[in-house]
Symmetry: C2
Subunit: 324 residues, 2 copies
């Protein structure tokens, strides 16, 4: 079970390897949102998403003998790149199991980081089974995307940074809006803030049609999404909250916020124009909630923009649909 | 004359008001460049460019009685936004004199920051005369864009950050590639690094056809650009190096690097894909030099991406022309 001691140990292992992302803001966004909006741009993290934190945390915690046999991961893309690059920097091999409909850039980048990529069909094959089999056959250590205390501890270091940075700008309370898929980032940030900045409430953000976490929190039991694909928010389409993460979310998170795809594209365009950062759709759901769902929010929010690995064509769509 | 004491005093005034921008990198960029490339993304600074540093430095140094009468600036856009926002945060009025062909977003943003915008024709009117007249008539203090020691001291704080961040990643020598127009950022960074990280050489970067600083450094006297407009790099088209900045540049800078417009667009597309930042053409000339002019560079470079205020149409052109 991840606790603050495990999170601080992860932070020590990550020190000098992970990028401390800044806290951004713009008076233009404050005006649109009708409240103070801060943005934590994890899109600026190594490999373009927060996933590098968890990957580094898990790989750096392995014993040298286990680590040198290599690692394996299954991922829609961002965890893949995080694990591949963290493995490369540790000088070890990685095998990444990816859905065949993942964005081209994510598959290519994962290969470019030196990983062996194994593709599977999201509709007909089970990635966990494929991962487990490969892991067993080659002696690789499976780095799970979220349901793993060491990964949660790594993602939580983003929460430690938020706690420190909020204090620097004079904030001691507010809502932290977190894009959620399996719940690794969300649960990690919730644990970090509970310990270091307890005035903040963490709230999950999801796209319409893929609001399993919001519904699970409302009903008190794990609920599943009806579909496994079909959203522009490809990075956050895990079918349901994790067995490890859900109890943490149930205990620590506020109610979920659900945004439309058009709101996501609008948030991406505003992040381009006002913050000069590139955010992918799944990474922009928290900012979309901050900007367009103020009726459900208090006067100060911090939105984590969790990733930036978006194809140029989709990014151009966002700019075309929402000119400044 | 700006010196390290003045720079440190500026840093103290800026503390808590300016954003400390991170130092970014990507193995993909290293591979293209054939050397280690770090990027200082001043596009993430308040108002989307380094100009906020100098504006804050100059305005915060005014006596309260002088400051409350307001300030005036003339600028192709980024200095305008920096002065307008710094003035607003100080609770004072600002008048900004801008060329009528400046990008729409820059004019609109400057107005949105609460400034009064006065437009002039870059070909037929003299911005210095317009600024001086308005300044005299209304009792406003002129905040010059670069030829002012307090502004140079403000821009220099970016150099202090580079010195500290380079040390953190284990660097004690290399080349710092700086987009240059009038030379405020370049001279400030050169002074800061001379005092704090003397192993670094600062090198000016310019677009073809607007290489006045490169030619001035080569000839040893101030040279002028033939044209005053006609480049996508609208932010860095000052006609010649400043009278205050040129002696500093002559003493401290290495030879200039000149890049093509296509290289600039390519650097913008790579910054989008690999760093997840939005860089405007004028802000990308240093990164373009790092990536495509390796024959003139050593094995480690830090490129300042000095601004990100680019219209969506031009940004889309960069993405279209240089797909990943």
């Amino acid at each position: 079970m991840t606790d603050i001691a495990m999170i601080e140990a992860a932070q020590a292992r990550l020190d000098g390897h992970v990028r401390v992302t800044p806290l951004l803001s713009s008076p233009f966004l404050d005006e649109i949102a009708g409240r103070r909006v801060f943005v934590k741009p994890e899109c600026l993290q190594h490999t373009g998403s927060f996933k590098f934190r968890g990957a580094w945390s898990a790989i750096s915690a392995l014993s040298p003998e286990v680590r040198e046999r290599g690692v394996i991961a299954f991922s829609s893309g961002n965890h893949a790149q995080g694990v591949a690059f963290a493995a490369k920097l540790h000088g070890i091999a990685s095998v990444i199991v990816m859905p065949s409909d993942a964005p081209r850039i994510k598959i290519e980048n994962t290969r470019a980081y030196g990983a062996e990529v194994v593709l599977y069909d999201r509709q007909t094959e089970n990635r966990d089974e494929i991962g487990a089999t490969l892991s067993r056959e080659r002696g690789l250590t499976l780095i799970k995307p979220f349901d793993e205390p060491l990964v949660i501890a790594g993602q939580a270091t983003s929460g430690l940074e938020i706690a420190a940075q909020a204090k620097e700008v004079g904030l001691d309370k507010g809502e932290v809006l977190v894009p959620v898929s399996g719940g690794g980032l969300l649960s990690g940030v919730a644990l970090a803030l509970q310990a270091r900045a307890p005035g903040f409430v963490v709230r999950p953000c999801e796209p319409e049609g893929f609001d399993d976490v919001t519904r699970s929190l409302a009903s008190g039991k794990i609920e599943r999404n009806a579909a496994l694909s079909g959203s522009i928010c490809d990075a956050i389409l895990a079918p349901q909250p994790g067995d490890v993460t859900f109890p943490i979310l149930s205990k620590l998170c506020g109610p979920g916020l659900v945004v439309s795809e058009d709101e996501v594209l609008h948030a991406m365009a505003l992040a381009f124009n006002r913050l000069k950062i590139v955010v992918e759709p799944g990474g922009a759901v928290g900012l979309a909630a901050a900007l367009f769902h103020g009726d459900q929010l208090g006067d100060t929010v911090i939105a984590i923009c969790s990733g930036g690995n978006v194809d140029a064509d989709l990014f151009k769509q966002a700019l075309d649909r929402h000119p400044i």
